[in-house]
Symmetry: C2
Subunit: 544 residues, 2 copies
């Protein structure tokens, strides 16, 4: 017997319809690639999304065609997302920081029919054009531009396309499990693989991230997604923002600390989201500018583990509550977020802060377990101590990769994340390491993340820290710290190693500190440990 309630498919178009209907005048403020600002609102975003959907139809594009975007977080990019997915096409966001060969691979693998791009990426697009024969349309995110015409004579102009259309368009209705968007994992080994999200998974994920124990999003919020829209759909925030009707500040290409501090203070941003490296830059810039980031009551940190010292600084110096979250491309991304429970009210501030350091617990719709490294379906204790392979299951978790016939799951239906973690009785997740970044010294595991956090805890002298497994003739592997000093810092190797002395067991202290000018990052802002291992992995053999 079926219930007697209305059935409406959970479609991405229903999000923008809600925003246009009930939050039409809510501000969307966007920084263009040239640095100029645009003030728009949900009503206009919705109208332009409809115009663009009609433009796509006029170009002869069909349902399920993949339409790629290579763009910053800005209003045209936002409009195009709703225009593409709302119109039953698939929005393929491309990370412009990939190497051209990876870009070519991805565009061909996805069989993209059109590419939308910001001016920054004109050389990139023009450069790969000869190698992507499936692409029929190159659409520049802007109006007529002579540079664009010169580099890419066949280019179309987004502003002209939508100007030719009216906004009278009814979003098509279709099955909610239809594919909506595609995002490739940056993949440190092998070719990138695509995660293909559905309308249903996206809408359910939006509901889950809006909840008070996740990102706590309301129409009182002025949200700034610093995390790029090409990085797991800016963690789904552009969808959730429409669902909730909050205001968005889109920071465009300016992701340096000073630019972000200006946007936060000028537009009274209440919540911003990004990876730790972004926040490191922002903290320094805010201190330099004397800003207290008054409007920002919370920030969300994910993508990599957030050092406890950063959480502390946000709370102590800026009265800003850091929400530590965990997820990945394959998980849409929200797997966990760290908020307290009622039973924690009785704890001291210090004990509460301790709990808030982990990656948090799953919202409804996401389930976690840890399993044996040798036997991927043997579950381990959730005692907060036992480490194992982190596996996940839920409404917005990958089942199989785009274009692959084989399942991406364990034999009993869980996705193995490649992270090594503990889980406690309350569901709080603590990521210990990526499975491949653990250091195995004389048969014992050492967590590189823990060693990095201690280095960052040294203070402002150390701006970045990576710990890798270096080959060792006796212990197989030993930890080596690669650190980036703040300008003019006098800190020495001996001082840093001394800092470890009372914090961990002696055998876990790195064998060596290497001061580097920089640490290579991938397109998502994560440290490329594979590159570091190639560069420094033999340093203990050479020095002996």
């Amino acid at each position: 017997m079926h219930g007697r309630m209305m059935f409406q498919p959970l479609l991405i178009s229903s999000l923008i319809e809600h925003a246009a209907r009930y939050h039409g005048d809510t501000a969307i403020i966007s920084k263009n690639t040239d640095g100029s600002m645009v003030n728009t609102d949900w009503s206009t975003i919705s109208d332009n999304a409809k115009r663009f959907a009609k433009s796509l139809n006029a170009l002869g594009l069909k349902s399920h065609d993949r339409i790629a975007t290579i763009a910053w977080n800005n209003h045209r990019h936002l409009e195009s997302w709703y225009g593409i997915s709302g119109n039953e096409m698939i929005c393929h966001t491309i990370n412009p920081r990939l190497f051209p060969e990876q870009l070519i691979f991805i565009i061909n693998d996805a069989q993209d029919k059109a590419i939308l791009f910001d001016k920054t990426f004109l050389p990139l697009v023009a450069g790969v054009k000869a190698h992507i024969p499936n692409v029929q349309h190159f659409i520049f995110f802007g109006g007529y531009d002579a540079d664009v015409v010169q580099a890419l004579p066949e280019a179309l102009f987004y502003d002209d396309l939508i100007a030719q259309q009216t906004a009278d368009f009814e979003w098509p209705q279709f099955d909610e499990t239809t594919a909506s968007s595609l995002c490739y994992t940056s993949g440190t080994t092998g070719n990138p693989k695509g995660a293909l999200y559905s309308h249903r998974s996206t809408v359910l994920h939006s509901l889950a991230i809006g909840l008070p124990d996740s990102l706590n999003l309301s129409a009182n919020d002025i949200m700034m997604p610093v995390v790029p829209m090409f990085h797991v759909n800016a963690w789904g925030t552009p969808y959730a923002a429409a669902m909730i009707g909050c205001s968005i500040i889109l920071p465009g290409p300016g992701l340096d600390g000073a630019s972000l501090v200006h946007l936060i203070d000028h537009y009274k941003v209440s919540v911003a989201l990004g990876v730790p490296t972004i926040w490191q830059g922002l903290l320094s810039a805010a201190k330099a500018a004397g800003s207290k980031l008054t409007s920002m009551n919370r920030n969300v940190v994910g993508g990599s583990a957030c050092p406890p010292s950063m959480i502390h600084s946000f709370r102590q110096d800026f009265d800003c509550d850091t929400i530590h979250a965990w997820g990945m491309t394959e998980t849409s991304p929200l797997g966990t977020a760290n908020q307290l429970k009622a039973k924690h009210h009785a704890l001291s501030k210090t004990e509460q802060a301790q709990i808030r350091q982990s990656q948090g617990r799953p919202p409804y719709g996401s389930s976690l377990r840890i399993c044996d490294q040798e036997n991927s379906t043997r579950t381990l204790a959730t005692d907060g101590q036992t480490t194992g392979n982190l596996q996940i299951k839920g409404h917005w978790i990958i089942d199989s990769y785009f274009g692959k016939s084989e399942s991406a799951l364990t034999s009993d239906g869980w996705f193995d994340t490649g992270d090594i973690a503990t889980l406690d009785q309350d569901g709080y997740l603590s990521i210990q390491d990526r499975a491949k970044d653990l250091i195995k010294s004389g048969g014992e595991w050492i967590s590189s993340v823990e060693l990095e956090n201690i280095a960052l805890d040294y203070g402002a002298d150390i701006s970045m820290a990576a710990v890798i497994a270096a080959t060792h003739p006796k212990w197989d592997e030993r930890p080596v710290l690669i650190a980036v000093k703040a300008p003019n810092s006098p800190v020495t190797e001996a001082q840093l190693l001394d800092h470890y002395a009372d914090k961990i067991a002696k055998w876990q202290i790195p064998d060596k500190v290497i001061f580097a000018n920089s640490i290579p990052l991938n397109g998502a802002g994560k440290m490329l440990k594979k590159d570091l291992r190639e560069q420094y992995g033999s340093v203990l053999i050479e020095s002996e």
Copy 2:
């Protein structure tokens, strides 16, 4: 092309599974029918729900069978809900305040196979037994009880049933549009009609009511649903609480102000939900007890319009933020909730308070429109001024009533609520009246709700107020105020009418004030205006 995300049906069992897994030790505190308290938790609720599911199977009950409950808000009732719906049966909550004939009609219409009941309702159940031949099992919510055996020899005992079962049970997986629960509207005209919810509608509704702009539910909350579980599933809060993992205080039969004040203060309730008449009693009791209701940071008022004076008193005297919400049995129930938007930050406290008086705006998943009274599909302006028939659409809105073949909707697919309302550009809903409670005086409409609010605004002298349309020889209808005075209040008819003078147009002022000892309420705590009209509707003719 389908997305490549996992598909899991949105089932009610997934809510209790989440609570058991990640919030197992979170407290559920329940007042028994005899007044004793029980401390349990989500883990035990989950185990007992599984035991009860097995008991239902052992009794030979089948998928889709309707299992009725006549019970207060308590832990056994909560367990049974998950046991019934999780096991693909249909949980039919019955309002014990109905007349026996209505009770008989409902049980037979639903074809209930079993009835679960609290001791309070033993006489009721024993009294109707002879008229409900479909019912095969009478299950008492408790252990062996001699009174029960005497009145109802065939009765089974819930505690014994679950004691015979172990908790090793896997919830069945099935289509998410399967019926989960059934609730009849109290219906002031004609026979009651059943709203049949689905698993999908219930889970989506739970997500929506948890959002910050709805009830803002987190695992930091200690929630007390005062609204009965037989009244639109306690507004869906027992489902949302499991999804969120918050603590619940179940107040059992003691819904008087003093009992509620004690529970709030003793168990540190952070949010409570109920109808205005409940809050009226609670405000008096809290003032009498000298309680400041310190832990309660917000309360949710729905079921009937909340008088502005009540919202003011909660904020002013108790630092408690009242969330005014609107919904009905056919809408699961959440249609709207009142929270501000970012653009309102710039307004004065008084202007903000003014906005907060209305019923609020719809969350994602619920859409509203107002239509012409003569032409139910002609939409009217959303200007905050134009009144019309309120219609609603969404994932948890009724499509057709249980057992009826005809649609419950307009020809273009909206549900007409029977309320008369305005909507403004921001989606804020202001209920003016029930369509049938409007007063049509000389061709002009007068809102009874507005006149009632003015009467309640007189102060503590007036504890209840109802305005009805009385037949008038010249104007067809004229408003008459039926008011209940506070004990020993000296207020007179002339003083009350004088109070209207500078607040509304002269022709809208009631023709007469009648002081009554009480105003009849229906099972949901709503004033029975139909009864008042029968009693007082001719008072202007008689008096002329």
